[in-house]
């Protein structure tokens, strides 16, 4: 908590904003206006926010199918995101990508893959470009525990370590890949924690505590900017919603409702709110103001998105090649 008030309230605001967007999506999803497979990160907001708080506009991130949080935390355009969810021409991917394929090059977001693990080497390559050009840009790969099953993570970390690339490998361990618990896919700790810390700075932390994420990410980003090489941050968290779609669509029987409740009690936003209020660093009315601001922003984004034009069928061939 020994952070400036502005920083703390900013972290709170960013998490709240991501949460509100997703609850809005959840509430409207069954209207079928968003014909796109959404993967909500409700409960996991602390990770993108805590990490991206250290990033400059030109720093790179790479995201996943569960990418709304990363996109917003990095400063991605909200209206373009909501329009994309509505498959509109005004969407960040012009309606060609949908929820799983967000992009905003203006803020260093070069596109998210829905192939699990697919973004990890790409983020590594963005880091390589930064280093080759002698830039101080860092590159962050966000990925889940399912992606950590893929050999490409081992290969990418090895390459990043070998070249001391300015890359953060941020594992969002929410313990599930669809309905598959991590214990049915991995035994023991991730081996990367055991690497020589000088080669790979690694840490395992509470991904629902935004301050813990903020602190560790700060060290990792500083290390990367200093040219000392990559980091591996395992953030333990939990998705409170189902794997895909809205809450009403979650299949039952693959996880214990009691477990969900325990994690609900550890909501990253509620936890920070409690501490901020206790420390009198924020007031209820300030929070309400934030809520109003976000609600207005969302109202506008959704209104526009609904009115925005759809891609023309005749434009199907566009963008196959870059001229």
């Amino acid at each position: 908590m020994n952070l400036p008030r502005e920083t703390l309230t900013r972290l709170y605001y960013e998490m709240l904003r991501i949460r509100r967007l997703q609850l809005r999506i959840d509430a409207l999803y069954l209207d079928n206006d968003m014909k796109t497979p959404v993967h909500l990160c409700i409960g996991q907001e602390a990770i993108p926010v805590g990490v991206c708080a250290h990033l400059e506009r030109e720093d790179y991130i790479n995201s996943t199918h569960r990418g709304h949080g990363h996109y917003l935390a990095k400063g991605g355009n909200l209206k373009a995101l909501v329009a994309e969810l509505h498959c509109k021409e005004t969407g960040c991917s012009k309606g060609r990508g949908g929820s799983m394929h967000l992009v905003d090059v203006a803020v260093g977001h070069f596109g998210s893959s829905s192939i699990v693990g697919g973004g990890i080497p790409i983020a590594t390559g963005l880091g390589l470009a930064s280093k080759m050009r002698g830039q101080s840009r860092v590159s962050v790969a966000f990925f889940g525990d399912g992606a950590a099953d893929e050999g490409v993570l081992y290969e990418s970390i090895n390459f990043a370590v070998l070249k001391r690339l300015p890359v953060l490998f941020v594992l969002e361990n929410n313990q599930f890949s669809v309905c598959s618990h991590v214990s049915t896919r991995q035994a023991g700790e991730y081996v990367f924690h055991a690497m020589d810390l000088d080669l790979l700075l690694s840490a395992k932390l509470d991904g629902n505590d935004v301050l813990a994420v903020y602190e560790q990410a700060g060290a990792a980003v500083a290390r990367a900017r200093a040219g000392l090489g990559p980091s591996f941050l395992e953030c333990q968290t939990y998705r409170l919603w189902g794997h895909a779609g809205c809450q009403a669509q979650e299949p039952q029987g693959y996880r214990d409702p009691a477990e969900v409740e325990q994690w609900r009690a550890r909501c990253p936003i509620a936890m920070l709110e409690k501490r901020l209020l206790a420390a009198a660093m924020i007031t209820r009315s300030e929070i309400e103001a934030m809520e109003r601001k976000i609600a207005a922003e969302l109202d506008e984004a959704f209104t526009c998105a609904r009115q925005d034009p759809l891609p023309a069928r005749a434009d199907l061939p566009l963008y196959l090649f870059c001229e």
Binding site: G95, M100, A244, L316
Partner: protein, 346 residues
């Protein structure tokens, strides 16, 4: 995944499935599940692996409760390690087991290509017959609701090119079960590509074990005017197109190859010999795909039969777009097949 659920609907009357009136009628996913159930029950060497095969939904319902039935040793969830796990399946098959490896989407097989193409497909040949790889790889082509470029690829055109692989694309509930059982009984690596749109069907599916021979096509509808070779769910689209054209007095013959490799060339050539006109419809990209091979085969071996250019109805040569307006432009079916037929006869 919720966004890829389908609700079964009975065929409209005139369905081409085997005597849809009599016998047991079940849904397509149930037919696949029944096939899996039979092979797991009758052959102790068979096991089923794949991401979330043990999930409540059971891979669109095809694997529902099979783990409860046969235990976690024989039906198990896997890590997301497609490369290694394809190799694990190859190794188990070399030892004489009969792995059935389920994938949610063909798109993910790109991670397993080395083991599937460089290893499974070559092992029997490369070692002069000393070893064999009785492996079944199953994946279901996605479509709709913004599945987009990485969750909707119809990759039969790639697998059809690989010597050493057999490639199956069923179009009916009956074949889905019968071909799956035949694939598991086959001593070679077999790829089965399903299509989500097939899963809407219900059809006649006998109980117990039966096999549909690999490499044998079937005439779904007899006709004399034009031959349509259609793949997977497009067989049904072609069937409906043919029904409408019959009203206009045009009798279309529909060939369902059922297996693309080995391909039943004879049944196609015989039909073209009769009609002199050929439309080929495939869900994959047009360039360098299944329609190209079938067209070339006929242009080579059945040239003298042809009275008109060969028409190919296939996916536009672009990645699948997410937005539904663009999906409408990308996908095709009855109307486009009808159009192609009419262009050939006018």
């Amino acid at each position: 995944m919720p966004w890829s659920r389908v609700k079964p609907e009975l065929h409209e009357p005139g369905s081409f499935t085997e005597n849809p009136e009599e016998g047991r009628v079940i849904s397509y996913p149930e037919a696949v599940r029944d096939g899996l159930f039979q092979v797991l029950k009758h052959d102790p060497q068979v096991f089923l692996m794949g991401q979330d095969v043990d999930a409540p939904g059971g891979m669109f319902g095809t694997t529902r409760e099979l783990q409860e039935e046969f235990g976690p040793e024989r039906v198990f969830d896997t890590p997301l390690s497609e490369t290694a796990l394809m190799g694990v399946a190859v190794g188990a098959a070399l030892a004489g087991m009969r792995p059935v490896y389920f994938h949610n989407r063909p798109d993910f097989l790109f991670l397993a290509m080395d083991q599937l193409v460089n290893h499974a497909a070559k092992w029997h040949y490369m070692f002069g017959g000393a070893v064999s790889v009785p492996l079944v790889v199953w994946a279901c082509i996605g479509r709709g609701w913004g599945s987009a470029a990485q969750h909707s690829q119809a990759l039969q055109g790639l697998f059809m090119h690989i010597p050493g692989l057999k490639l199956i694309m069923p179009s009916t509930c009956y074949d889905a079960k019968g071909l799956l059982i035949a694939a598991v009984a086959d001593a070679n690596p077999v790829v089965i590509l399903e299509h989500r749109f097939n899963f809407k069907q219900k059809g006649n599916v006998p109980e117990g074990i039966y096999r549909v021979p690999i490499g044998q096509g079937v005439i779904r509808r007899e006709g004399t005017a034009v031959t349509v070779v259609a793949v997977s769910h497009l067989v049904l689209e072609a069937f409906h197109a043919a029904q409408e054209l019959a009203a206009e007095g045009l009798e279309v013959e529909i060939i369902d190859p059922r297996t693309l490799r080995p391909l039943d060339e004879e049944i196609i050539l015989n039909s073209v010999a009769k009609t002199g006109r050929l439309v080929i419809a495939d869900t994959g990209w047009k360039t360098g795909g299944v329609t190209g091979e079938i067209a070339a085969m006929v242009a080579e071996k059945g040239f003298s039969y042809l009275k008109a250019p060969i028409k190919r109805v296939a996916a536009p040569d672009v990645p699948t777009p997410a937005g539904y307006t663009l999906e409408e432009a990308f996908y095709f079916g009855k109307e486009e097949i009808k159009q192609a037929i009419l262009e050939l006869v006018k």
